[in-house]
C-alpha cells in the first residue's frame, strides 16, 4: 500500500527545536548571545580579545569557540581570564545547536551576561544554522577584498551587525569602503555596520556601546 502524507515541516526541524531550547535556556540565565560569522582570519578572536579587555570587568562574559582543529582560540580567550570552551568539528564547516547544547552541558559557562559563539571560519555554511543566538554578527576584514558582501550575500543580508575589521590597513589595500557599505546596506537595509580596528582602537568604543545597549535591552525585555 502506498501512503502520501502532506505536511509542511521545517527540514531542519530537529535542529531548530534544539535552537529554541537554547533560546529558552539563555532567557532563563539572562544571557545575551552573539553568533560571530566570518571567513578565517578576519579577526574574530582578536576582536573578542579586545572586547574582553574593555568589558569583562563590568559584564560576566563567556566564549564558545568553533574550529576544525586545535584549542588555540579557546586558549587565547582563557589567557584573558574569561571561561571558554573549544568545540572541535573535525572537518565540519559550521556549528549547530546540538554542539552548543553539549558545550553548555560540559562546562559552567552559564550563567553569564554575554556569551560569544565564534563560529567556524566560513562565510557560507554557518549562515543556515540557528544557535539560539540573539544576534548574528558578520565580520569582514579589509584585506579580504571589497567584493565579498555581494559574492557571499547570505550572511551579510542576515547579520544584524556587520563589523568591518582591520580598518588600520585601509591605506595599504584596495578596499573601497563606501562601496562596501553601500553593498551591505542594499543587502540588509536595517542592519548596523561598524568599522573597527583592534590595533588602533578605531570604532571599538562604538562596538562596546552597541553590545552594552543590546545587553541592557535584553535585560529590560
Amino acid at each position: 500500500m502506498k501512503k502520501l502524507v502532506t505536511i509542511r515541516r521545517k527540514a531542519l526541524a530537529a535542529s531548530e527545536e534544539q535552537a529554541d531550547k537554547l533560546r529558552e535556556r539563555f532567557a532563563d540565565s539572562g544571557t545575551l548571545v552573539f553568533n560571530l560569522i566570518s571567513s578565517p582570519g578576519s579577526g574574530k578572536t582578536t576582536l573578542l580579545e579586545t572586547t574582553i579587555g574593555r568589558m569583562a570587568e563590568v559584564y560576566k562574559m563567556a566564549v564558545i569557540e568553533g574550529d576544525v582543529a586545535t584549542e588555540r582560540d579557546a586558549d587565547r580567550i582563557r589567557a584573558m581570564g574569561v571561561p571558554a570552551h573549544q568545540v572541535l568539528t573535525s572537518g565540519a564547516c559550521h556549528l549547530d545547536a546540538r554542539q552548543i547544547e553539549t558545550a553548555l552541558e560540559a562546562t559552567d559557562l552559564l550563567p553569564a551576561d554575554i556569551l560569544f559563539i565564534e563560529n567556524v571560519g566560513n562565510l557560507i555554511c554557518p549562515t543556515t544554522y540557528d544557535l539560539g543566538e540573539d544576534f548574528k554578527i558578520a565580520l569582514l576584514s579589509v584585506t579580504e577584498g571589497d567584493d565579498k558582501p555581494i559574492k557571499y550575500p547570505a550572511i551579510f543580508s542576515r547579520a544584524d551587525i556587520t563589523v568591518i575589521t582591520k580598518s588600520d590597513l585601509l591605506p595599504y589595500v584596495p578596499f573601497d569602503l563606501d562601496t562596501v557599505m553601500a553593498h551591505i546596506s542594499s543587502l540588509n537595509p536595517t542592519g548596523v555596520i561598524l568599522v573597527v580596528s583592534s590595533t588602533t582602537g578605531e570604532g571599538i568604543d562604538l562596538w562596546c556601546d552597541l553590545i552594552a545597549s543590546r545587553f541592557e535591552a535584553k535585560r529590560r525585555s
Binding site: M1, K2, K3, L4, V5, T6, I7, R8, R9, K10, A11, L12, A13, A14, S15, A92, C93, H94, D96, I124, C125, T127, T128, Y129, I150, P153, A154, S157, S185, S186, L187, N188, P189, T190
Partner: protein
Amino acid sequence: MHEMGIAIEIYRTCREVVREHGQGRLQTVRIAVGELAAVEPDLLKFGWEAVIADGPDEGAELEIDFCRADQRCPSCGEAKKRSEGSWFRICPDCGAPLEVRGGDELDVLEVSFETDDEPAEASKTQE
C-alpha cells in the same frame, strides 16, 4: 558544503513522518527550497543520494520545488522582479528598502512511502 548535513536532517524528518503514520519504505519526498535559503538544489540531491545509499530507503526520490522570493517596494507600491543572483533588498527605481516575502523556505512538503499495513488501497493524509 552544508547540503550534506541538511540532507541528513531532511532524511531524519521524513523518517519521523513515516513513524508517525505507520511504517514503510520511502518512495518520494517533496521539499521546498527558497532561492534565499543559501542551499544549492543539485548539491542537496547529491547529498540525499549519499544519505539513502545502501539503506532501507535506497532509491527514494527527492523532488525539489525551488521557490522564488516576492519583493515589493512599499514606496512605489509595485512588485519588483529580483534580478538573477542578486540579493539586494533596495528598490532599483527609488532606493527604498524592499519588502521581501518567502524565498527562505527549507521545508518538507510531502512524504510518500510504501507500507505493508492494511487496508490495501492507497490513503492520503493531510496534517
